[in-house]
Structures are given as C-alpha cells and as structure tokens.
C-alpha cells in the first residue's frame, strides 16, 4: 500500500500492528488486546483525517496509485464485457476503454478512462490521458448506444486529454468537442461517475450525462491545481492554494448543483475497501438507471440538455 504524506501517522500505527501480529505468531504471546487497541486508534485517526481532508489532500487521494481504476470497476460490476477498440479513422487509444457489457443483467455501453496500476499498464493506457482517437472511439460507442437504445455508463478518471504534437495534429479539440456533442445528443440514459480525477475538457467529454455522480474523495476541475497555480500565481508551488480556490471537491460541486450525487467512500478512501466502493457505485448506477429507464430517448436528451443549460444561469442578473 502506498501512503500519502498525511497518512504517515496511520501507516506507522498499521506497521506496528503488523509487527505485533508477527510477534504473536512467533512467540505465542497473546497480544490481541494490544492489537485491538491500536486498531481502534487507526480507525479513529483515519476517520478524523478523512472527515476533514483539504482540497489538496483530496486531490492526492483522487490520484492515489492504489485507488481502484476503471478496469477494476469493469471487472467488479459488469459481465459479458466486450471491449470494442478503435475509432475507425486512425487508431486505438487505450487511455479510454469501452464497449458492450451487462450491468446487473441489463445490456449497456460502458466507457471509461484507465490510468493503469504499474509502469507497464500506465504506459499501455498512457496514464489515462486520451488522444483524439480515444474521444472518437467514444463517439462510435455513443452512436451504437443511440441506435440500439442502450443506456451508457461512464467512469471518469483522467488528468486531462494528452497534450502532444500528434494529438493536436489529429484534432484533439475537435475530438473532445464531438464527444461532448455526442453525449448531449444521445437518445438513451447516460449516467456518469467521477471515480478519481475529473480533469477538464478530457473529463467532460464523457461526463455530460443525465446524472453525474462523484465519489466522496474525487475531484473535478476546469484545470489541475498545478496548472492553475503556474498560470495565476506564476508558481507551481502554489498548487494547494489553487486547489482551495478552484472549489474542485465533490462536496463543492454538489453545492454548485453541477453534480447530482456524492457517493460515500469506505473509511480511509476507496483504496482501503474496494469491494465496498464497487458495491456503492453499482447500487447508485442501478438506482439512476431505473429512474431514467422510464423516460423515452427524446425526453432523456431534452432533460440532459436543459440541465446543462441551467448551469450558472441562477447567478446571472
């Protein structure tokens, strides 16, 4: 397990527990009481720390290397997963994966960004930073969903679209624009969940849904705190301040009515109890799909568009 800076005291307690367990194995000493006492302390600290994470700490949790990623959700929540590669124009981009699948028995199209878990998979998935091909693949999949009336579930987890020469050459901006366009054009339910990092245009490209949810410690922002700091403060070191100013936490977005629901995470974050977080996300998807399932395609599209049209309008004089 990887520990973040502010988790270090907890990590120390946990390693002490491990040591004690080894001791008890070796010497047959009964130290269950001591272990139990320490465990209570760990839980209390975890609860305390995670109850009041700062926006910058949440950013770190959202990027936690052990946090479950898109593929983990695909394995846990879906059956008959049939990935459909490629954009039919240029290539296959593994930063975005998607295809046909069954979600609790129901046929769906599922799409998500995959960051990878180790060096090999991170490289294969380009750290979850998609090329234009990735967004064009989304368009292909959304078109399938539209024509065959399949609900779409998306799992958002990206630092942003890839900034590179070839990405620009092949029209990164146009690809993202078309993907947003396709989301807002879809005549089927679209439910999105930000499971980690919702990075700017690269995130909204698959997140313009009827229902948008965020995990409790995920973030969603117009720009990364680091990027914002280097532009507005002219110093990347001011990322903590930028994270505060950007109001990028799930709780902030719920307050601004940008998202519809915050899904609670297990104590100490999604990475500490994967099964629990898969179950919560699955149940939330199911609930929203059931609600949206009563509406016809045209109504779903219209309601989705109206929802986005309302955003920010309240504040206008």
């Amino acid at each position: 397990m990887y520990f973040l800076d502010f988790e270090k005291p907890i990590a120390e307690l946990e390693s002490k527990i491990e040591e004690l367990r080894h001791l008890s194995d070796a010497d047959g000493l009964n130290i269950a009481e001591e272990v139990g006492r320490l465990q209570v302390k760990v839980d209390k600290q975890l609860k305390g720390v995670y109850a009041k994470l700062t926006p910058w700490q949440k950013t770190q949790v959202a990027r936690h290397p052990n946090r479950p990623h898109c593929i983990d959700y695909l394995k846990a929540l879906f059956t008959d997963v049939t990935p459909l590669a490629g954009d039919r124009v240029f290539g296959e981009d593994r930063a975005i994966i998607g295809g046909l699948a069954r979600f609790r028995g129901q046929g769906v199209v599922v799409v998500g960004q995959e960051k990878g878990d180790d060096t090999e998979t991170r490289l294969r998935h380009n750290f979850g930073m998609a090329m234009p091909e990735g967004y064009r693949k989304v368009c292909k999949l959304l078109d399938l969903a539209d024509r065959f009336q399949l609900p779409v579930l998306t799992l958002v987890d990206t630092a942003g679209a890839y900034p590179g020469v070839s990405a620009e050459e092949r029209g990164q901006a146009e690809a993202i624009a078309r993907s947003i366009d396709a989301c807002l054009d879809l005549r089927a339910p679209l439910v999105s969940c930000v499971i980690g990092e919702g990075g700017s245009g690269g995130a909204i490209a698959i997140a313009a849904g009827n229902t948008v949810m965020m995990l409790e410690h995920s973030i969603y922002s117009v720009i990364s705190p680091e990027g914002c700091a280097s532009i507005l403060w002219r110093s990347g070191g001011m990322a903590q301040q930028a994270a505060e100013a950007l109001r990028l936490t799930a709780q902030d977005l719920l307050e601004f009515k940008i998202i519809d629901e915050v899904i609670a995470e297990p104590m100490g974050g999604a990475h500490r109890d994967r099964a629990a977080v898969f179950a919560s996300v699955g149940d939330a998807f199911e609930r929203h799909l059931r609600e949206l399932g009563t509406l016809d395609g045209a109504t779903l599209r219209q309601k989705r568009r109206e929802k986005f049209l309302r955003m920010g309008r309240e504040g206008l004089a």
Partner: protein, 344 residues
C-alpha cells in the same frame, strides 16, 4: 547647447498634446516589427501591409466589418454573476473583472448582435480577447446560448468569432460546464437547419476550441491564427522537444484537416456571404461578384477572376494569380498592400 536641450526639451514635450505622441501615430507590426502608419493599417483592417500579419481586433470592429453598413442591433446580455466561487489568486476575481471592464468598456468577453450580412439575416457572437484573454465563463456561455436562441427565432445564420485563451479559471467548474452549454446552443441551431459558421481568429485555444468553436458547419480561420487545444508551452514541457514549424497555426490546422478554409481578412465578409447564401438556397448576393478558383489546388480565399471562357483565364490557370493587382513584382520585398484591393 546641452544646458538648453536639458532645460527646454522637457517643457516642450509637456506642451505637446498626448494624442500626437508618436506611439499613437504609428503601429508596430507584432510579426515583422515594421513601423506602420496607423491610419493606413486601420484602413486595411489591421493587416500589416508588409508581411500580411493579421493583428487582433476588438469584437466591435468585427461586427462593423461583417454587418451591412456596419449597422447592427446588440443583444443585451445579462450581467455576469460577480464571483460565484469567491475566487482569489494574486488578485480578487471581481477586481480582475472590473479592470477588464474599465479597459474594454464591455461587460464581459462576448458581444452578440443581429442584423444583415449581404442582405441575409445573421446573428454574430464575437469575442474580445482584451477582456481577460477572451476567457469563457458563465456570462460568455449565456451569450452563446442567447445568440443561438435569437438565430433560431429569426431563422438567421449564426456566426461565432472566437478569440479566447479558453475557460475562465476564476469561475472554476462553472466555466468548464460552459463547454456543454455552448454545445447545446450549437445543437439548437443545427436542429433548426440553420448555418453555423465559425471564424477562428488569433488565438483560439483550450476549452473554447474543444467545444462550440470546433463544431461549425463550416470552419474558417484568419491566416496565421494560433488555434489549438493544449498550450504550446504545456506541450513543449510534456514532450521535451521543439515544436514543428507553424505548429497550431491556421494553415497547419487546414493542412491537417481541421479547418475548412483560411481566409484573408478582406475576403471574410464575402466568403461568409457566399457560404450562407448557398447553404440557405438564396441567390448570390447582388453586391458580390462571382468568385472563381484559380486552380483546383487553391484552397484559400477564392480570388476574383474573369469568368471561364475568357482565353486569358485558361492561360492563367497554371496557378499564377490572374488579377494583375495580385502580382507581386520582383523588387517587392513582401506581399503587396492588401488595402489596394480590399472589398470596401
């Protein structure tokens, strides 16, 4: 002599009224650094007569250039919410807004107007880059939504002219959502089967490019405009390589299939008029002479040529410009002054 200069000169300088200070009489071309006489550059719509560089224009100038007789009706947009996030970096957002409002005399970065272009109804939404880098927040998004609504109501074509660094960071996630809002605006115009023309100008980047700006039925661009998603510096830092020549320029995007047509500023109005008139099944606007391609390879602004059948036209079909005024003589150092044959 020295004592005299030192004493008298500053006094004389103080007597000279400010508007006659040389800086206002002359404009330095940001591209070739040539000093240009302001009156001349203004006459050529701020295109450098020496190197052809298209300088940035304020939104109102764009409106004047497009609408017939420079007449238009501005759509009153709502006053933006002052500061939804209570955002503060080195400066408070309301202070930045106020500074931009004072500097430009505008409420926000977008102006929307309706009127006539070559006798056809159009709605134009033009960005002011001088207003916080033309950044898109809620007010700009709202302006685009309203522009689309008016276009649909009036059965008018929608023309959007971005000049923007992207989303307005000070409005955080609300600015990101404008990418979706502006896309819905485009969808409304599309579903009403009305033309949606985008004229990309320098610069158009970030979230603006990655939404409504890349969804045009026809995408035009001014020459040399910087157009892209990621900033050049961000890319350079990511790939740690030098960027290719002409990277993210209008011509580069055209050559990579992302822009339909790169159009010289003097030809923008006539080009848009031709496109809209054909798309909406109207007769050719009477004030426009028909345009002919000089060669099939010609992908930039159509040049006015003699009608086909003219024996001379065939001889010129080898790609040489046919209008003698378009010829560049050998001893010219650069392209000719575009004001000489501007469509004024």
């Amino acid at each position: 002599m020295n004592w005299l200069t030192n004493l008298v000169r500053p006094k004389i300088r103080n007597l000279v009224p400010k508007k006659d200070v040389p800086e206002n009489l002359w404009v330095k071309c940001p591209s070739c650094e040539h000093m240009l006489f302001r009156k001349d550059v203004e006459k050529s719509s701020m295109v450098c007569s020496r190197c052809g560089h298209h300088m940035r224009l304020p939104a109102r100038k764009r409106l004047e250039m497009l609408f017939d007789g420079g007449n238009y009706t501005e759509i009153q947009l709502p006053v933006p919410a002052p500061d939804p996030l209570k955002f503060k970096d080195l400066k408070k957002y309301p202070d930045r807004l106020k500074d931009a409002q004072t500097k430009t005399g505008e409420k926000d970065a977008l102006i929307v107007a309706h009127g006539w272009l070559a006798g056809m109804p159009v709605v134009v939404a033009a960005f002011n880059f001088d207003f916080m880098g033309g950044s898109m927040g809620v007010a700009v998004g709202e302006g685009l939504v309203q522009a689309a609504e008016v276009a649909v109501q009036q059965r008018a074509a929608l023309i959007v002219i971005p000049a923007s660094g992207g989303a307005r960071m000070q409005e955080g996630i609300l600015s990101l959502m404008q990418m979706a809002r502006s896309t819905v605006a485009v969808q409304r115009v599309r579903e009403a089967r009305l033309p949606y023309i985008v004229l990309l100008t320098d610069p158009t980047t970030g979230g603006v490019t990655a939404s409504f700006a890349m969804l045009g039925d026809v995408t035009l661009s001014e020459p040399g405009a910087v157009i892209g998603f990621a900033g050049a510096r961000v890319i350079e830092n990511t790939i740690r390589q030098k960027l290719p020549e002409g990277f993210q320029r209008a011509e580069y995007l055209r050559d990579h299939g992302m822009v339909d047509l790169v159009v010289h500023r003097k030809d923008i109005k006539s080009t848009i008029a031709r496109i809209i008139s054909i798309m909406t099944h109207r007769d050719a606007p009477s004030e426009l002479a028909p345009a002919y391609l000089s060669t099939v390879e010609e992908t930039d602004s159509p040049l006015p040529l003699p009608p086909p059948g003219d024996p001379e036209a065939a001889a010129r079909a080898d790609g040489r410009p046919a209008d003698p005024s378009d010829e560049v003589s050998e001893d010219d150092e650069g392209p000719e002054d575009p004001t000489q044959h501007g469509d004024k």
